[in-house]
């Protein structure tokens, strides 16, 4: 069996205010292999988003080990974490989070701008991914001129533009109606079929089932993992 792309060992996350400690994650162990589609499910406040933030290097664990691509991702400086995010991770958000004053094309090329890629290469790459998600005809539009489903497709293109090792999707269908939700899920499944590694947080059991494996969180702990059509208790 190959080395996992992501390995979390004994990850803890504690939020501390003046007098109160909140344990958001406790003893989380998780492996995600290359090409795998993992969904993380659980009730509100169970730590799903915190886990995704740690996976996306947007936040740091209080303790534990995080290996990304066989390299330790804990204890890095802010700028190094930003660089890894830029190259290894693609984000898809529930509320799309496209930047309103940038065109569809500019939104998609943004991660490549931060990478310092030459303009011509950026342009090719951005147009290609827009083609992949079927949005190349809207390259010059502003986000406000698109429907929700179209915006999420653009957000997927933006996540893909940097050819990341893993796509992290936080409730990608949460702000969409069922038809658009289905469409976006189809897109993610297609990407998975083409070899993308995806980790998705979702409430929606219909879409959680699309993943190879579903990890259930409760009170900051992984309480069960189930694989598609084959369930076992962890």
């Amino acid at each position: 069996m190959s080395e996992p792309l992501i390995r979390l060992e004994s990850i803890k996350k504690v939020f501390t205010t003046d007098e109160v400690e909140t344990h958001a994650l406790a003893e989380v162990h998780l492996d995600i292999r290359e090409g795998e589609f993992v969904s993380i499910a659980g009730p509100s406040g169970c730590g799903k988003s915190t886990l995704l933030s740690i996976l996306g290097l947007l936040d740091t664990p209080t303790s534990g080990t995080y290996m990304l691509n066989k390299k330790p991702a804990s204890g890095l400086k802010l700028a190094d974490r930003a660089r890894i995010r830029n190259r290894e991770i693609g984000f898809i958000f529930q509320s799309f989070n496209l930047i309103g004053d940038l065109t569809v094309f500019e939104n998609v090329e943004l991660p490549l701008v931060y990478r310092g890629m030459p303009a011509a290469e950026r342009r090719n790459r951005a147009l290609n991914v827009l083609e992949d998600v079927g949005m190349s005809h809207r390259a010059r539009h502003l986000p406000s001129q698109l429907s929700g489903g179209q915006q999420q497709r653009v957000a997927v293109a933006r996540a893909l533009a940097g050819k990341p090792s893993i796509l992290l999707a936080d409730e990608p269908t949460g702000n969409l109606d069922s038809a658009n939700g289905e469409s976006v899920m189809e897109l993610l499944k297609e990407l998975h079929r083409r070899g993308s590694t995806i980790c998705m947080v979702t409430h929606d059991t219909r879409f959680a089932g699309a993943a190879d494996r579903t990890v259930h969180l409760f009170d900051g702990r992984i309480v069960s993992e189930e694989e598609a059509r084959k369930q076992h208790t962890a």
């Binding site: 947007l58 930003a82 995010r85 190259r87 984000f91 958000f93 989070n97 004053d101 502003l142 406000s144």
Partner: protein
């Protein structure tokens, strides 16, 4: 409870609230300062009842409508022919006189018509005003004292009435003392009636009067102008036979509010300042609102909770209003302190432009303080309302274009640019004025003002005696140690004397050059540049051939060549031979173009107006050498001109500086406003960028998620700001050039500013903007992305 909560938050969160208080302090302080200034200027300049009904009547040439001339006694009689428009028309002539006999004091004396105080509606506090009998020909001389002169020269003696005083050696009876509140802009000490003969009363030749009239209730300036047009028509009728038509076609009479005349260019500067203060107030309020918005955006959760707990929208709005009002009150308090600190230096700057008025004790008075204390809280409350999340301002700054995140936003760019643009324009205006002033001080005036000292006498004697006295004084002054040249004239350059003379030429054209008299030695003493021919000499007497010195521009205008020595110039019907050509002389100061001018030897200047006898002496030695002491000059006067007080003993350079008073005042105020505008622009950038960063937290979170490093985010905010500063700076450069042209139109012929000043403005503005944006940029760089994304 709201107030207590807010005060606690003020100390807990000074990062936003202290700059907001400071901005409101600048706005309200500027308002209080301007109001105090305006009230003081109006009160101190002309303290007659209902000054808005007082107008100044003047004559002018159609081709030079801005250059107001002085009417003649004959003109005055014509102006009095409109009782339906003017309830009274009076005149005065300001001069200086010697008060006392043994050690005479130089005093400012206004000779006035008998109805002068009736027109002004000013009543003496002691004694009586002038009557028609006091102004009758041959009436015994009477005098009214200003309150200041009564205190300074008569020890505020209440029994001064009836006392005989010597004015220029002639006795005059004190008949009254004027109220303390009454003073003229030129600081008059004494008033005396003209007592003209009937012939003099009808005389149209001597143009020297300042005419003041009171408009009838209900009469308008337009009606006043129509009356003046009738005066012009009457003059044309009267002189149609004697004066060429093209000369008469130039005759114009007009009027304007007296305060415009009294305050002159300085009033225009004050009007510009009023607009600048208003602009500062608006900018300060807007920036404070932006800062409060930044704070409000950080309190959205708190407000949502309060709302969820049952707080009615009105209750939340009341809380915002109360917070804004307290903020405004604090701002008003600080602003009043600021205004109080600024008023004394303001008084000094005002004294450059209005030297005749006293600017001591310039202070905030009760109404100004009350108004400021009302304005502050009102403005603060308005800012708080405008700056609440969800307001129009909030939408503009966030650039709401849902769906999609808030971007840099065109509205925000426009708002920041507008402030920077104003800052750039004012900065360029100040830099240009400073440059212009420096250039003016270096400009070739046609004379050498360094090491020249001057003083003034007002001898009452015939021209032959006056000429002899002038030559004797010059000779005695030349004998003083260190003096290398001395001479006399009837009007020093830049002393304010205007004496236009109609000069008909052989080819039928008419010129109106300035006419002056001089004695031998003046050309050298003042350092006039003699381009051709010779100076006047002691041999140019009343009996010898009539000779004249002309300026280069007069030679060119009259003869189309500089080579005019030996040619003849007809002056009041008599031929004068040109013996020398002088370089163009900026007679009316460095900011005015050099007028064509000629000089007659004093002994031959019967045709000219003689009031003052001005002496000039040049000292040898280094530039810093002092002139003779006043005691040395007084000793010369005691021997050669006993009874004549020494007046206005000053260096020519001081006279030159005084000429630039309005420019210096404008520079001081413009400089202060430019600094203020830069501060406000920086405050505005800080406020708007703070609010923008707060409003764009999610966007920065997204950018960080996409791989932007903290340095990228810092750079982005700074880049956005610098781009705006650059564009605004360039636009401000263009606008500033326009303003600067306006300033030059107001303040005289100033030289063009060089190109590098514009670059300096753009660089200064960019630096200030970058500095102001640094803190918001650092905040953007430090936004925790996970937290920002959770908020979305």
């Amino acid at each position: 409870m709201h107030v207590r909560t807010f005060l606690k938050s003020l100390f807990r969160e000074p990062r936003t609230l202290v700059p907001a208080v400071a901005l409101l302090a600048l706005g309200v302080g500027g308002f209080a300062w301007m109001l105090a200034l305006h009230r003081s200027v109006m009160e101190r300049s002309f303290s007659a009842p209902r000054p808005d009904r007082l107008v100044s009547l003047w004559n002018a040439r159609v081709s030079e409508p801005q250059r107001h001339g002085t009417p003649s006694p004959g003109d005055l009689q014509l102006m009095r022919g409109f009782p339906g428009v003017f309830s009274g028309v009076a005149a005065y002539f300001p001069r200086h006189a010697a008060l006392g006999r043994e050690i005479p004091a130089n005093v400012a004396l206004d000779e006035v018509t008998g109805d002068y105080f009736n027109v002004l509606q000013v009543r003496p506090v002691l004694g009586r005003a002038f009557s028609a009998a006091d102004d009758a020909p041959g009436a015994p001389a009477t005098v009214l004292l200003s309150h200041r002169a009564w205190q300074e020269h008569f020890g505020a003696d209440p029994s001064v009435l009836g006392r005989q005083v010597a004015l220029d050696g002639e006795p005059a009876e004190v008949i009254g003392v004027l109220p303390k509140a009454f003073h003229t802009a030129h600081g008059t000490d004494l008033f005396r009636p003209f007592r003209w003969s009937d012939a003099k009363r009808q005389n149209h030749q001597g143009h020297f009067l300042r005419v003041v009239a009171r408009l009838q209730d209900g009469a308008t300036l337009a009606q006043g102008q129509a009356a003046m047009d009738q005066v012009a028509a009457r003059i044309k009728e009267l002189f149609a036979a004697e004066v060429p038509k093209e000369w008469l076609d130039q005759v114009r009479y007009g009027l304007n509010p007296l305060v415009d005349d009294v305050l002159g260019q300085g009033l225009q500067v004050l009007r510009l300042l009023r607009w600048a203060t208003f602009l500062v107030l608006v900018l300060a309020a807007y920036n404070a609102a932006a800062l409060l918005l930044a704070r409000g955006l950080g309190r959205r959760a708190e407000m949502a909770v309060r709302s969820a707990l049952g707080a009615a929208p009105e209750s939340l709005r009341r809380q915002l209003l109360a917070e804004g009002a307290i903020l405004g009150l604090l701002g008003a308090g600080a602003g009043l302190g600021l205004a109080w600190l600024c008023l004394p230096p303001t008084g000094r700057a005002l004294s450059w432009s209005f030297p005749g008025l006293s600017w001591e004790g310039l202070a905030l008075d009760g109404p100004v303080v009350v108004l400021a204390l009302l304005l502050g809280p009102a403005l603060g409350a308005l800012c708080a309302l405008a700056g609440q999340p969800g307001s129009r301002l909030s939408d503009l700054l966030r650039g709401v274009r849902q769906p999609g995140l808030a971007g840099p936003g065109r509205a925000r760019r426009i708002l920041v640019s507008a402030q920077l643009l104003v800052g750039a324009s004012l900065l360029l205006g100040a830099f240009s004025l400073r440059h212009s002033l420096t250039q003016l001080l270096k400009a070739d005036l046609g004379l050498d003002a360094a090491q020249v000292w001057t003083f003034r006498l007002q001898p009452r004697m015939k021209l032959a005696e006056r000429s002899r006295l002038a030559q004797e004084l010059a000779q005695r002054l030349r004998a003083l140690p260190g003096v290398v040249a001395a001479g006399a004239t009837n009007g020093l350059p830049m002393s304010g004397l205007r004496s236009d003379l109609n000069l008909p030429l052989a080819d039928g054209r008419h010129l109106s050059p300035q006419a002056r008299a001089l004695t031998p030695g003046l050309v050298r003493a003042l350092g006039f540049h003699l381009l051709r021919g010779r100076d006047v000499a002691a041999t140019d007497t009343a009996a010898s051939e009539k000779v004249v010195l002309v300026s280069r521009n007069l030679a060119l205008e009259a003869f189309n060549t500089e080579d005019v020595v030996g040619r003849s110039l007809p002056i009041l019907g008599e031929p004068f031979t040109i013996v020398g050509v002088l370089a163009d002389l900026r007679e009316f100061g460095p900011a005015q173009a050099a007028p064509p001018i000629f000089f007659l030897p004093m002994a031959q200047s019967e045709a000219l107006w003689h009031e003052d006898l001005c002496l000039a002496l040049r000292v040898a030695g280094p530039v810093s050498s002092l002139g003779p002491s006043p005691a040395q000059i007084q000793a010369v006067l005691r021997e050669a001109a006993p009874g004549q007080p020494l007046a206005k003993y000053q260096s020519m350079e001081a006279l030159l500086q005084a000429q630039l008073g309005p420019q210096r005042m404008a520079l001081a105020f413009m400089g202060a406003f430019a600094a203020l505008a830069l501060l406000l622009a920086a405050g505005g950038v800080f406020g708007i960028m703070s609010a923008a960063v707060a409003a764009r937290r999610t966007e920065f979170g997204v950018r960080a998620a996409l791989g932007a490093t903290p340095f990228d985010l810092l750079g982005q905010v700074l880049r956005e700001t610098l781009r705006l500063a650059l564009v605004a700076g360039l636009a401000g450069w263009a606008l500033g050039l326009g303003l600067e042209r306006l300033g030059r139109a107001t303040l005289g012929a100033l030289p063009e500013p060089p190109l590098h000043l514009g670059l300096l403005v753009v660089a200064s503005l960019s630096f200030a903007a970058a500095l102001a944006a640094l803190l918001p940029a650092l905040r953007a760089a430090r936004i925790p992305p996970a937290e920002a994304l959770r908020e979305s």
